[in-house]
């Protein structure tokens, strides 16, 4: 998984999932059509970075600290991927968003402060991301390493189906259940 793209920069900390996709888009029972909800209310401002013509086709979003905080809605990474994004670069991500992003092929790329500053200062510049080597190549040509959960990396690179992997562990789950009788029965 290697790609190169210009970036869109939203230099705001703590971008919450209500901004990424407002709750009124959560009434859908499918995953389709969520791209139109992406940053819907911020997009009403003409100068919002995603509205600029040069943002068209960008696959990498650069945002402030603690991206994706708030609600657990997986609609947030769905809306981002349906809008063409393959990675978000920040200094940190909220836990639930990070997990949801990885399950949808959206890379949460954590870079050090100085690299982040360079990216914030260079909207629309080209960045290259290589998952196998966990490397982001900055506009200056400098390479920075980013951390990623090794299992999520394996799933993304080799197409491992996470649910399939879990289903294969049925014997272990059955053994656990036989040793741990539940204390409740919701159907009782």
């Amino acid at each position: 998984m290697t790609f190169e793209s210009k970036t869109v920069v939203i230099p705001i900390d703590n971008i919450d999932t209500d901004q990424i996709i407002p709750a009124r888009y959560l009434k859908s029972i499918s995953k389709e059509g969520l791209g139109e909800g992406l940053f819907r209310d911020w997009r009403n401002q003409p100068d919002f970075p995603l509205n600029r013509p040069e943002a068209k086709g960008a696959e990498i979003l650069v945002a402030g600290d603690n991206f994706g905080c708030g609600s657990s809605r997986e609609h947030a990474p769905w809306a981002l991927t349906q809008s063409g994004f393959k990675a978000v670069i920040s200094t940190s991500f909220a836990d639930i968003f990070k997990g949801n992003a990885l399950k949808n092929g959206l890379l949460p790329v954590v870079v050090p402060q100085d690299a982040h500053k360079e990216l914030l200062a260079a909207p629309n510049a080209k960045v290259k991301i290589d998952l196998a080597s966990q490397t982001a190549t900055l506009p200056s040509g400098r390479e920075v390493k980013f951390p990623i959960d090794p299992f999520a990396k394996e799933c993304l690179l080799n197409g491992v189906d996470e649910l399939g992997y879990m289903l294969k562990q049925d014997p272990a789950i059955t053994a656990f259940e036989s040793k741990h009788p539940p204390s409740i029965n919701t159907r009782a």
């Binding site: 959560l26 009434k27 600290d65 905080c69 949801n100 399950k103 996470e162 879990m166 272990a172 919701t186």
Partner: protein, 468 residues
């Protein structure tokens, strides 16, 4: 054996398997479902021809898209109605018990579970909802998950997880009158910031936490995610056992005694180490109120709105400027006395009977300001019935408030209960993000006492200063 925190103990007892180079497979004791974050997971099950592995450890309710208008009125919102109908179908097809709109157990998922005794110490509990940490009040490891993971739990009753660190939050001393559990958690978040607990589970400890009722502990644990932590919990004690005892799904007879013995092993061992620690002096706390657009932007109600000129970090500064612009607030001005258009008492944070009692204690014999619209939305039909039995509904209605059916309501404004653009609310909910309570709406988060006092005066009000 190495001393362990309660989080480590629950974790250790739920690991099904640990493969090399993979996260642990963690067993889930209780899976709570609602209409918004599950439909796509059921679609995955259908596409792959899978069953729900343990419908007996799964329970569903309707809350997010759910109207709070009288139940005999047809649902006007076609999308919301379709989502509720899909929930009915999914639960029927997969054998999952559901509290639908005609059930007297229907309610917000995090109110419904505990009140039925489903939430028990030592359990692992998940839900496609970030406020699942509420159940941590019982000494359970409870956290929010995305829809892909909802599918994983439905199919396997397990999750792939890596352990979190434990972050001790000690609240010592005695709260002063007019200061509540909501003020504790708003003060914690204001202190550590909304990303302060990322990667951690909070363990709330200390004498002030021990002194809280179960409902108050739920309020504290509920907002763990607003401090960045996926989960937060309180070790179980006699308060916990007394709350659970006798509830529908609580263990009975000999099973009860055995359960309590098991639960007593859960509290953190002496000598266990925490990754991080924070101590808060309960006696120094005041009622809290937020001024900005994330829950970390909170101050004591007597305080003044912060000045961006005093902030050094450039992004932090521009975020504060942006927040104050959205909220249309002036730096340096007091929060008290700021006008309020709507007061919302409800949400999984503050919609339990004790929250309604607190709000009613302020409203009794008083009127909602003519410039304010006040909504009181019980967390569940059981809370509503109890409130009616105590005459609280009459107190609210006599005061001029709207007393509604159970649901998430104006916390996230999915069901038609919402702010108009530019309106200010004092809300007992958990998030003040831009547009959270309706596009263009502006939220001040506060306790039920502060909310009720502000409803009476029409401005942000310290309940302790409300004229008798």
């Amino acid at each position: 054996m190495k001393p362990r925190t309660i989080v480590e103990k629950i974790w250790d007892s739920h690991v099904v398997s640990q493969q090399p180079n993979a996260p642990a497979l963690l067993y889930i004791d209780l899976h709570l479902c609602h209409e918004v974050t599950t439909p796509q997971a059921f679609t995955t099950l259908r596409e792959r021809g899978l069953k729900v592995r343990r419908p007996d450890l799964t329970i569903a309710t309707m809350d997010h898209s759910t109207p709070t208008t009288p139940r005999n009125i047809p649902i006007m919102d076609q999308e919301g109605a379709a989502q509720l109908a899909q929930m009915e179908k999914n639960c029927a097809d997969f054998g999952i018990p559901l509290h639908n709109l005609s059930s007297n157990k229907q309610g917000i998922v995090h109110v419904m579970g505990p009140e039925q005794g489903l939430t028990q110490p030592g359990m692992t509990i998940v839900c496609g909802d970030s406020h699942t940490a509420t159940h941590g009040a019982f000494g359970a490891l409870a956290f929010g998950i995305g829809t892909s993971q909802v599918g994983h739990v439905l199919a396997t009753q397990c999750l792939l997880q890596t352990p979190s660190e434990t972050y001790a939050i000690r609240v010592e001393g005695t709260l002063r009158p007019g200061v509540s559990a909501k003020d504790i958690i708003l003060a914690v978040i204001a202190k550590i910031g909304i990303g302060g607990g990322t990667g951690c589970v909070f363990e709330y400890t200390g004498s002030a936490i021990r002194a809280l009722s179960m409902e108050e502990r739920m309020t504290v644990c509920n907002m763990s995610i607003e401090g960045g932590a996926r989960a937060g919990l309180v070790a179980p004690d006699d308060t916990t056992y007394q709350y659970i005892h006798g509830r529908t799904f609580a263990p009975k007879g000999k099973d009860w005694d055995a359960a309590v013995e098991r639960w007593k092993q859960l509290p953190t061992d002496a000598g266990a180490t925490y990754a991080k620690e924070l101590t808060i002096d309960a006696a120094a706390l005041e009622p809290m109120v937020t001024f900005g657009t994330n829950p970390g932007m909170g101050i004591a109600i007597s305080g003044n709105i912060p000045d961006p000129a005093a902030v050094a970090d450039p992004i932090e500064k521009s975020d504060l400027i942006k927040a104050l612009k959205y909220m249309d607030l002036q730096p340096g001005k007091p929060m008290q006395g700021h006008k309020v258009d709507v007061v919302f008492v409800g949400s999984c944070t503050n919609s339990r009977i004790s929250d309604l009692r607190a709000a009613a204690s302020v409203m009794k014999g008083r009127k909602v300001s003519p410039t304010v619209r006040m909504l009181v939305v019980p967390g569940s039909q059981q809370v509503k019935l109890q409130a009616e039995a105590e005459g609280l509904d009459k107190i609210f209605r006599d005061a001029g408030a709207d007393f509604r059916e159970a649901g998430c309501s104006m916390c996230l404004a999915m069901n038609g209960d919402q702010l108009e653009p530019g309106e200010y609310s004092v809300s007992t909910s958990n998030r003040n993000f831009e547009g959270r309570q309706g596009k263009g709406g502006r939220t001040f988060l506060a306790s039920p006492l502060t909310a009720a006092a502000s409803a009476v005066t029409g401005v942000v009000t310290d309940v302790r200063k409300l004229p008798q």
